[in-house]
């Protein structure tokens, strides 16, 4: 995926984890995992916060606003992080946009 793809994502799209992709806290290993067909992905703290908000209800823009204010972070940086992650996961069909 190129940068162009990430920035061409519409801010109005409502990302969600499709059925068959689940974010889970594994109490035994004490870490967050994204469970998907034949895959178990370790998920870092930033990705967890993004993915928790991908419920299909909020728009991408609203998710970025929310994260930027919750973590008092620069909006443009958050925007980049969110787009990069969602673009990567969409290519793997792990998130629907």
């Amino acid at each position: 995926m190129t940068e162009g793809d990430a920035s061409s994502l519409s801010g109005a799209s409502r990302p969600r984890l499709p059925r068959g992709v689940r974010l889970k806290h594994d109490d035994i290993r004490n870490e967050w995992l994204l469970l998907a067909p034949e895959r178990v992905l370790k998920t870092n703290a930033i990705a967890v916060e993004i993915l928790k908000r991908c419920t299909g209800e909020k728009s991408l823009d609203a998710i970025v606003d929310d994260l930027a204010s919750t973590f008092t972070a620069e909006r443009s940086r958050v925007d980049n992080d969110v787009r990069a992650l969602l673009t990567e996961l969409a290519t793997k069909r792990l998130v629907d946009l």
Partner: protein, 380 residues
């Protein structure tokens, strides 16, 4: 970024039954199939799933045989969901009704893997040894997608369908699959028995690999293609099972726990049964699991090879089958002193002068099959 805590398994392959209406000649089940009367009962499987969750298993693969041959399938799926396990149904599609699929979805099933034998209906039915199988699989795919469940299509590649590897990917897209697995045949169990009829020539295999790799790019974002290339043609072996007893457990219909589905063909290994031990004990202490952990067991050339942490010396079962000793390097490796065995097999695959022979279809032994039919009727 795959999770890898080698001290705990992540996947459990639960072979709920060996009963299956199809007879795929490459089936990975052992030649000696468990008859129905030896299958674990519902309560035992539920206990195994609970023990699996406690030992750290994240994904539960419900397989067989055909798992829909089990009448308690919905109950088992519901139990897995209650435990928070990610459940994956690996099915031939035969026996999946619309009603059953919607009940499975309601019970919390996460994902369905449906096998197809070919993109050509007649060839597909011939490979499965079951008339009308192809049509029923297409129907099963629609039940799955209509129920809102994510679908993966699995296709095993061999001589009879190798020219249609790309067409099978396209069929998967039409069926609404989000993911497709294109796996070249591995020669264990029934696959080993039928090897002469299944192995494609190097040219055919390479053409299929090229076709599928090209589709990976052109279909990116539409469907995810997981491609298992044929290891006989490779320079290095595959990291079989990501290393022996490092990530997964396999429970047979009668409750024997194996580090991999083909492990029983290695003589002298002691497998434990869930009837006698907990999964935790088996994972940590069963002799079969400890037999090839780490690298103390390795011989040369693996022992001093820098790739031993990458491919773990390849597949123990293949090493045994082709060299007679499971501790040898997988002879697929070009560094193996037994590599000529693989080259001989490949040379034979190019020789098409043999008259075509019928497949040895995967079946329960005739006497067992008759008994099974009677049991089916009386249990209704």
């Amino acid at each position: 970024m795959n999770a890898a805590d080698p001290s705990r398994p992540v996947g459990l392959l639960a072979e709920l039954t060996h009963r299956c209406p199809l007879g795929c000649p490459y089936c990975s089940n052992p030649l000696e199939l468990d008859p129905r009367q030896h299958e674990l009962d519902t309560a035992s499987w539920k206990r195994v799933f609970s023990e699996a969750a406690a030992v750290g298993i994240l994904q539960l693969h419900l397989s067989g045989g055909e798992p829909a041959s089990r009448r308690d399938l919905v109950e088992l799926v519901a139990h897995g969901a209650k435990l928070g396990l990610y459940s994956n149904l690996i099915t031939s599609g035969i026996g999946l009704t619309q009603m059953l699929v919607s009940k499975l979805a309601e019970a919390g099933l996460d994902h369905v893997q449906l096998s197809i034998q070919d993109s050509e209906p007649r060839s597909a039915d011939h490979i499965a040894g079951y008339k009308g199988a192809f049509a029923r699989k297409l129907e099963a795919a629609s039940f799955v997608t209509e129920a809102g469940l994510p679908l993966t299509v699995n296709a095993v590649i061999h001589r009879a369908n190798v020219r249609r590897a790309g067409a099978m990917v396209e069929l998967a897209v039409r069926l609404g699959a989000r993911r497709v697995e294109i796996a070249h045949t591995q020669y264990y169990g029934w696959g080993a028995k039928n090897r002469g009829l299944l192995m494609p020539s190097r040219e055919e295999a390479e053409a299929a690999i090229g076709e599928v790799e090209a589709l990976k790019t052109s279909l990116s974002g539409t469907i995810v293609i997981d491609h298992v290339a044929p290891d006989y043609h490779a320079r290095y072996p595959k990291p079989c099972m990501s290393g022996w007893a490092r990530r997964t457990l396999n429970v047979t219909p009668s409750g024997k726990v194996l580090p991999c589905h083909a492990a029983e063909l290695i003589p002298g290994l002691e497998f434990w049964n869930v009837a006698d031990h907990s999964l935790d004990e088996i994972w940590n202490h069963s002799p079969a699991f400890n037999a090839f952990r780490g690298d103390d067991w390795m011989r040369e050339p693996c022992r001093s090879c820098s790739r031993k942490t990458i491919d773990f010396g390849g597949c123990r079962c293949q090493a045994f089958m082709l060299t007679g000793e499971a501790r040898n390097a997988d002879p697929v490796c070009h560094l193996s002193p037994h590599h000529h065995v693989v080259e001989t097999i490949l040379a034979e695959a190019r020789d098409d002068t043999h008259p075509p022979q019928p497949y040895a279809y995967r079946r329960l032994r005739p006497s067992t099959a008759v008994r099974r039919e009677r049991l089916d009727i009386s249990a209704d």
